[in-house]
């Protein structure tokens, strides 16, 4: 990144922050985070991810140039099947998708190997994302690139997670799924969904519903399911061996 672009971005970031909230006040999810704080928070990620000059792939892929990158596309890194699928479906790392992923990796990518419970604070996430942006010359060198801010709150209402699904209703609804997904759990071409932990199932289906996940068929199918119906399906598929 050129010094000039960096300066402009910093200046703009600061102006936005000042305009929206007092500098000392809490930062909402929709605002641009502070890269310095992000650097500190990134310590947690460092166990697996490197970023910066000469960063290499480690347990996780390096995170240089992550903005605008297709998920699962760092060469020579062995990704999970789930991440490769998500990338082919059209998942691109943007402030928004990174925010969802950092909040709960499984909401965005089923069976990802990113073993991270998630960062619940929207403010913390926006700092980390701002930090990553410093190593992502793609968006920051292009003035019209999307901002580092995270516009959407992806959090799933705990009340939705708490719904106890009716597995009988789920069984009836599962007919829709079983045209493609096999009850026996075959995982070729179309991913297996049997025996999936209930909560992961619910979170994933709501991510399709909110159009955070990319697959068009699943967006369509999930888009018309009510919270109760998703809970019913989750209860049914969790019980399938």
């Amino acid at each position: 990144m050129s010094v000039w672009t960096a300066r402009i971005i910093k200046a703009v970031s600061l102006a936005v922050m000042l305009a929206v909230s007092p500098a000392s006040g809490p930062v909402a999810a929709s605002e641009i985070g502070d890269a310095k704080t992000g650097a500190r928070l990134f310590q947690v990620c460092k166990a697996c991810h490197r970023v910066g000059k000469e960063a290499r792939n480690a347990v996780g892929p390096h995170l240089n140039g992550v903005f605008g990158r297709v998920a699962g596309s760092v060469e020579a890194f062995r990704y999970s099947e789930g991440l490769i699928r998500a990338g082919a479906d059209g998942l691109i790392w943007t402030a928004d998708s990174l925010d969802a992923y950092l909040e709960n990796p499984k909401s965005l990518v089923s069976r990802t190997r990113m073993n991270f419970i998630g960062m619940p604070s929207a403010e913390d996430r926006s700092h980390v994302i701002a930090y990553l942006r410093d190593f992502s010359d793609k968006p920051s060198d292009i003035p019209e690139a999307e901002p580092t801010s995270t516009a959407t709150d992806h959090a799933l209402d705990p009340a939705i997670l708490a719904i106890v699904g009716d597995p009988d209703y789920g069984e009836y609804l599962s007919g829709e799924c079983l045209t493609c997904h096999q009850a026996g759990g075959l995982d070729e071409g179309i991913p297996a969904i049997t025996g999936w932990p209930r909560e992961d199932f619910v979170v994933a289906m709501h991510a399709y519903k909110k159009e955070i996940r990319a697959h068009p068929v699943m967006r369509m199918m999930a888009g018309r399911l009510s919270d109760e119906e998703i809970a019913g399906l989750a209860a049914y598929f969790e019980g399938l061996e």
Binding site: L173, T179, E188, G189, P216, R224
Partner: protein, 423 residues
């Protein structure tokens, strides 16, 4: 096993089950009887779901003349060399042995709606409480002048699975170098809207490898067709200069085909071809007509939420034969409709809970190696029709990884729907 021996065995089982199964009895004695005509995408699915979900409370009989169902879905991939014919064949053994469905290999030749019986070519007459018809399509006589079923060996339609597809492939393989493959495309509505165009893609794929100077002509009575933009861009990229799509506005109408001289007369001009694939206009399978539940266009109107015939509440019509609204005539649609119908039938005959109807469809097509596209939609039942609520379609310019993934997804779908139909 003969029908009579099966009936006796079933009868014995019925007596034992009677005392435990809480149910609303059918008009006939014993367990409520459901007879399903046609063991394809709609019929096999509805039979399996009825038997599976009623847990023995229903007596389900499936009438299907063939012992092996060769699916039309993926038959184009067989033409293109991406599948074997065997991989498209499915038998009915599991439906009989694992689900207790009485599978009868015979033709249904008549329906007596007053007596509620179906008569079979073999002479038997089967009583029903509910009848499900899913006989697929038949062709409209005279819709392609010069062609009738007696010409299907010279000019195959390959629009019913199995031997016709095999014949068409053999003909394409035997084409002289630089020869012409002509397709007569069908008018709306017809089975599998993208089917003819996927077929052209697959024939082009085969010719590109073995007969690169050959040409493909499509004579189409329609002004536009399913996934047109995707197919035409795909043809441009993968088979440049090989395929001409000629709509009738441009060429004039197809006047006749001449199977003996392998000619087509279009807009006053005679074209000679080496292979002619005639896909005539379609109507509901003949048995729907014999049951007198079809309209003047030859399709069977149904009640959207239950797939019951508008003419007779004891008959449900699924899949290609049904006149239902916005759903395309596809295997996916037939399978989706079957589950809604199974739920409604079970509710009516056993008192089980009936859940709201939901329908969906996705159709994948292969344009060339690892180049898959898809279109799909969700539907709901309104009073008038099955109405589309949302949909999606692949885009031009998608990257190779997505196209490959879409193709692989279609393979997963084929395996999934086959299991869903045949167990």
């Amino acid at each position: 096993m003969s029908l009579s021996r099966r009936s006796i065995l079933k009868g014995a089982a019925t007596t034992a089950a009677l005392s435990v199964a809480p149910m609303i009895m059918g008009a006939s004695h014993g367990k409520p009887k459901v007879v399903v005509v046609g063991g394809g995408a709609g019929g096999a699915t509805v039979a399996r779901y009825l038997a599976k979900d009623s847990k023995g409370a229903l007596d389900v009989t499936l009438i299907e003349p063939t012992r092996t169902y060769f699916s039309c879905f993926f038959s184009n991939l067989y033409l293109g060399g991406f599948r074997t014919l065997e991989s498209l064949g499915h038998t009915y053994g599991k439906l009989a042995s694992e689900y207790g469905i009485n599978v009868v290999h015979d033709w249904a030749v008549g329906v007596d709606r007053d007596k509620k019986t179906v008569s079979l070519a073999g002479g038997a007459s089967l009583p029903y409480d509910r009848l499900v018809l899913s006989p697929g399509i038949d062709f409209v006589d005279g819709s392609v002048p010069g062609w009738d079923l007696s010409h299907q060996n010279r000019m195959p339609h390959a629009y019913k699975g199995g031997s016709q597809t095999e014949l068409l492939k053999a003909q394409v393989e035997a084409m002289r170098p630089g020869g012409v493959f002509a397709m007569v495309a069908p008018p709306n509505p017809y089975r599998c809207p993208p089917g003819p165009y996927e077929r052209v893609s697959m024939v082009a794929h085969m010719l590109k490898e073995n007969n690169p100077k050959a040409k493909i002509l499509i004579f189409d009575p329609k002004k536009k067709f399913s996934k047109q933009g995707l197919f035409q861009a795909g043809w441009e990229n993968s088979y440049p200069g090989m395929i001409d799509w000629l709509d009738s506005e441009f060429t004039g109408a197809l006047e006749e085909v001449r199977p003996h001289s392998m000619e087509l007369v279009v807009g006053g001009e005679v074209t000679k071809a080496d292979v002619v694939n005639v896909i005539p206009a379609m109507k509901a399978g003949r048995i729907a007509e014999l049951a007198a539940i079809t309209n003047d266009k030859g399709w069977a109107p149904v009640v959207p939420a239950t797939l019951q015939s508008r003419e007779d509440e004891n008959i449900h019509v699924l899949g290609d034969s049904a006149h239902q609204g916005d759903m395309p005539k596809s295997g996916f649609s037939a399978n989706s409709q079957a589950k809604v119908a199974a739920n409604a039938i079970r509710g009516a005959l056993t008192g089980s809970k009936v859940f709201p109807a939901k329908f969906a469809n996705t159709c994948w097509s292969l344009i060339g190696t690892n180049n898959g596209v898809k279109v799909g939609a969700a539907y709901e039942a309104t009073a008038e029709k099955i109405a589309k609520t949302s949909g999606f379609i692949s885009q031009n310019g998608e990257d190779a990884a997505l196209r490959k993934q879409t193709y692989e997804e279609s393979i997963g779908w084929y395996a999934g729907i086959s299991k869903d139909m045949f167990g």
